[in-house]
Symmetry: C2
Subunit: 433 residues, 2 copies
């Protein structure tokens, strides 16, 4: 009575590995449409950059590893084309059918350049699979493109812009919305723009791309185009099988990562999770979420009883060495979720000047009525990661600003200032409340 997992990257393999731990005797089959499994998709921009030299460096586990070490039957080049839940079986492109007792859907998401006119030309790429990155790297090596346009100013878009610029290309980023990195915040956007421009990347916001010409995109010359916009969950397979799709467009799940069909679980870029701050279903495709929700899906599919509490949407991206980190809600997201947001932004040194402290910008958002912390951004250098994680932990714990202000954070001069920038921001926010 096997457990079948559709998808062999982050969520799928986390689910399979966890299911094995919960039930050492369960038959587990992973069906992956592509030729490789278990690659670190978040590392792809660094392979394009050249920092990672061989694509194999991004592959964490092989099918053989799973087969031998975990007794998990991983089948690559096995694209599932239909799920028949009444018969408890999936059909493969090859015509083969695989029976399941429990199913985990981790079909991921995609950017679809073919949705843009001219999106299927040889100089147009996405950056989602190891194959995408390998072909892009080969294209750069062979064709020596000089001007690139990146469509989409999300994480991957700016990481790609950074990687291409470091390869000597001139780069323009075109973003449809008024802001980059998925945060509708004017100051955040201004700092990202300045950082891009400082490093010779042109950013145009409010530009909707309808077609890609052989030598340009809109008014911007381009002999290389990367499409990193319009990322969508791959839900067609699930929807056709009768699995409910949520309002976000991703697969609806409960807190056990089970879908509307009993015994069918979903996790990763194709699935919704609960937002820890709003308490509502959300779709924020991130590798961390895929791994954690996948684990819970796998545990429950194997007969366990685990709960996924949800996410704060914590993210961090390096733009030419500067970290842009965010968690929880922005002011406008908080307003849309019916909070009364109040925010405070401060700039402070990350460490004393004699330890090369650099400017760190912290913005905290809280609810006026309850003082509950709702979100934050931290923009700065390496230590931004730890600081945003402190806020993410506070969000999961539903801390109020007055509680946050008293956090016992570590201090000595090589690491921080005696009042950590997070606490300075909290003090400022207390004055606004």
């Amino acid at each position: 009575m096997p457990l079948v997992v559709i998808g062999g990257v982050a969520a799928g393999l986390s689910a399979a590995a966890r299911a094995r731990r919960v039930d050492p005797h369960l038959e587990i089959i992973v069906l992956e449409k592509g030729p490789v499994i278990s690659y670190g998709a978040c590392g792809l921009p660094y392979f394009v950059e050249g920092r990672i030299r061989r694509p194999e460096q991004l592959v964490v586990y092989t099918p053989e590893y799973f087969r031998k070490q975990r007794q998990i039957d991983v089948r690559t080049n096995s694209r599932v084309v239909a799920i028949s839940h009444p018969r408890r079986e999936v059909s493969l492109e090859s015509g083969a059918r695989v029976h399941y007792e429990r199913l985990v859907i981790s079909t991921g998401g995609r950017c679809d350049p073919s949705a843009i006119a001219g999106g299927q030309q040889p100089h147009v790429f996405t950056l989602h699979t190891l194959d995408d990155a390998t072909r892009l790297r080969a294209f750069i090596a062979e064709k020596h493109p000089r001007r690139a346009v990146v469509i989409g100013g999300g994480y991957i878009g700016l990481e790609a812009a950074d990687a291409l610029r470091r390869n000597g290309l001139r780069v323009t980023v075109l973003e449809r919305s008024p802001h980059v990195l998925l945060r509708d915040d004017a100051h955040w956007n201004a700092l990202a723009r300045r950082q891009l421009e400082l490093h010779g990347v042109e950013l145009r916001c409010g530009v909707e791309v309808r077609s890609i010409e052989p030598d340009r995109v809109a008014d911007f010359p381009a002999d290389l185009v990367i499409v990193s916009a319009g990322f969508k969950p791959n839900v067609e397979l699930a929807a056709e099988a009768g699995v409910d799709i949520g309002r976000t467009g991703a697969i609806r799940t409960d807190d056990r990562m089970e879908t509307s069909l009993l015994g069918v679980f979903a996790a990763g870029d194709c699935a919704e999770v609960t937002h820890l701050v709003t308490g509502r279903p959300t779709w924020i495709p991130l590798g961390t979420t895929a791994n954690k929700a996948g684990r819970v899906a796998g545990a429950n599919a194997a007969g366990g009883r685990e709960r996924f509490p949800g996410i704060a949407g914590t993210s961090i991206v390096s733009v030419f060495g500067m970290a842009f980190a965010a968690t929880g809600l922005s002011v406008s997201e908080a307003r849309a979720a019916s909070f009364s947001p109040v925010s405070a932004r401060i700039e402070a040194l990350s460490r004393p000047g004699y330890f090369q402290g650099t400017k760190t910008t912290v913005e905290l958002v809280a609810d006026r009525a309850t003082r509950r912390l709702l979100g934050a951004t931290v923009i700065g250098e390496q230590d931004a990661a730890g600081r945003i994680n402190v806020v993410a932990t506070a969000l999961q714990s539903r801390l109020r600003v007055d509680e946050f202000e008293q956090l016992d954070l570590a201090y000595s001069p090589p690491f921080s200032t005696v009042w950590d920038p997070l606490l300075v921001a909290a003090q400022q926010l207390m004055k606004e409340l």
Copy 2:
């Protein structure tokens, strides 16, 4: 009806500044025994090292600043020798008396080398005040000592050892207890020892120093000695005035930082605070605590109503570039506090290898019965600070390990691994529970 603050460094000045904000019209007098106020005591080892060139760089505010900008009357060289609470007045060494309505005692703490035979020789120093550090620096410049013994392997002791070694001295650290950096943990101690030895510092634990000879301490030749052991709260003034002293030896306070005498508050290295994990009074002298508790003392002394929730004892110290960070309870401390501690220790890369990830050691301690997280250590590089702060936040929020395991921490390759070392440690600890 003035507020009088005894002590013009971290806790005292935080109290005075906060009192001013709570009551713009209050008369506030700060009495500081030394010639300067508001110096960053935690920066003293870096002045000894030479990284900070002028002692003035460690002075944050001058008495003039407080007088003009905050209307706070700061009097230096004003040592208080007695408190008469029935008369609501303090007596100065000069014979002058100062009336108070409310009093904040922030008399700090001290290492007393005169408690050791030979401790008052000219080559024996403490490292507690700006004057100590200035005299030490001058001694090094003039006398060119070649062999140093540091008595005490706490934070200041190891920072001093690091600073002296970087000045070319041969350094031996003598510590009375079996472990350094105030953590009774064998692995922690082994890593600290290895780091010290790698950088040419000899560490001897279990050595009680009873006397300092002109040219040696015990069997160790020394033409310079730093005493950083036996740090004690300065409570004599308070005790003589009838203020209750707690079991830790520091001034007993409630969660408003008020002492047993109504209207008399205490904060900083002289005072107890609540430990967030045990719920009991504790005395862990740290600058962060002094500042935060001082603020609360000042607010309440000025008529506010604020509460200090307590501390987790979060600390971090750099030993030749490696961070040793701790928060909450060690296994043995947890046992002493009647928990049933279980711990797990993991080693993981801080970031992927292609981003120069370095080895990070995380140990988490939890209570077996409740799964509540009790403490942690993180040993690694710069990002150790952020990681220990995540645990500190979890301790304040009383998170369980199964909740901690699901934290939505930031990930992208320049900053972390997709499973942050903290989460890997939590997964390991879940297996042990």
